[in-house]
């Protein structure tokens, strides 16, 4: 299976963090990000209907699925992928959630701004390798 894009979206629908693994060759650039942001409305509806943070697969675009995870302060972790194996996705999103909380604990990090930390970036990439095999 291949995972294509991972985005952390803040409360004002602004992206806080973005990681793109591979673009399909025949599609326009940034289509992945566009598709994920288009799914935000659907995630909003799901957020109020369940108490779970992990929202599973919320939307489908052609043959790609979008899974979402909404934290306690409604910051959304969203993943664009093309497989149906939920366990690895849930594990990956939970681990990134823990990384996000650690980032929050930094008093110099303004909540709702872009995450610039290189160690955060390195960690997310290694988690992706661990759960999705590079």
């Amino acid at each position: 299976m291949s995972v294509l894009t991972f985005i952390i979206v803040g409360k004002r629908d602004n992206p806080l963090y973005e990681l793109v693994w591979q673009m399909r060759k025949d599609e326009p650039a940034h289509l992945n990000q566009f598709v994920i942001h288009a799914a935000l409305d659907i995630v909003e509806d799901h957020v109020w209907s369940t108490q779970n943070m992990f929202l599973k697969t919320v939307d489908k675009y052609n043959d790609l699925y979008i899974s979402a995870f909404s934290t306690a302060s409604n910051v959304k972790l969203m993943l664009l992928h093309d497989s149906r194996s939920e366990d690895s996705i849930k594990g990956f999103l939970s681990d990134v959630y823990e990384l996000y909380i650690k980032t929050l604990c930094n008093p110099f990090y303004d909540v709702g701004t872009v995450i610039h930390s290189t160690s955060f970036d390195a960690r997310v990439k290694s988690l992706a390798k661990k759960y999705f095999g590079g």
């Binding site: 409360k11 957020v47 109020w48 369940t50 108490q51 779970n52 943070m53 992990f54 909404s70 934290t71 306690a72 302060s73 409604n74 939970s94 959630y97 823990e98 990384l99 996000y100 909380i101 650690k102 980032t103 929050l104 604990c105 930094n106 008093p107 909540v111 930390s117 160690s119 955060f120 960690r123």
Partner: protein
């Protein structure tokens, strides 16, 4: 992890490596008192009116509130969040208060007439322990900081509202602080829709 040359203190772990677990859970009262007094003094220097002082302290508390919400939700409730008002307030007066102040809040009440107002009572807020307020500042209370923490938490969970701290004296002369939470109209409307 880097190791410094001899004589240099050991570096702390990078933030992403530290565990999220509870740890010691206690800070010395004097350390907190010192830090808080510096915060109040800084706000006092910058603010021109008592209202501005209160809103600055409240703003500081908001920064704490957002983080407290995420961290304590993760520790206490794993992968579940609050989507309703009353469970969120119960979580706040129970677990959060216990973690922050060592004991649960004294009371949580809803205003009889206004359904968008809730009150949390606290007998002895830690912020007021070493503070004496001059009489010309009126009803100012350093518990505005705690009000800010509450406001940060509820706004973080998408239940926007304003929180103010009001010192009230009991019948027997002792005083307590009441935090008045006034939720926005759209929060109440959404609660009614889901009820």
């Amino acid at each position: 992890m880097q190791s410094g040359s001899s004589g240099r203190p050991k570096r702390l772990q990078p933030l992403v490596d530290r565990p999220l677990s509870k740890g010691k859970g206690e800070v010395t009262l004097s350390a907190f008192g010192f830090l808080f007094s510096e915060m109040v003094q800084k706000c006092q220097n910058k603010a021109r009116t008592v209202q501005e002082l209160e809103s600055r302290l409240c703003n500081y508390g908001e920064h704490v509130g957002v983080r407290v919400l995420e961290l304590l939700t993760h520790r206490e409730k794993g992968l579940k969040r609050e989507t309703r008002l009353i469970p969120l307030l119960s979580f706040l007066t129970g677990s959060v208060w216990k973690t922050l102040f060592g004991r649960p809040a004294d009371a949580l009440e809803r205003h009889t007439q206004n359904e968008d107002e809730y009150m949390i009572t606290d007998k002895d807020p830690i912020t007021n322990k070493f503070v004496s307020v001059p009489s010309d500042m009126g009803a100012f209370s350093c518990a505005a900081f705690v009000a800010g923490i509450i406001q940060g938490m509820i706004s973080g969970a998408d239940f926007k509202g304003t929180v103010t701290a009001h010192p009230v004296s009991n019948d027997d002369g002792s005083s307590k602080t009441i935090y008045l939470i006034k939720f926005d109209a759209e929060v109440i409307a959404r609660e009614k829709r889901f009820a």
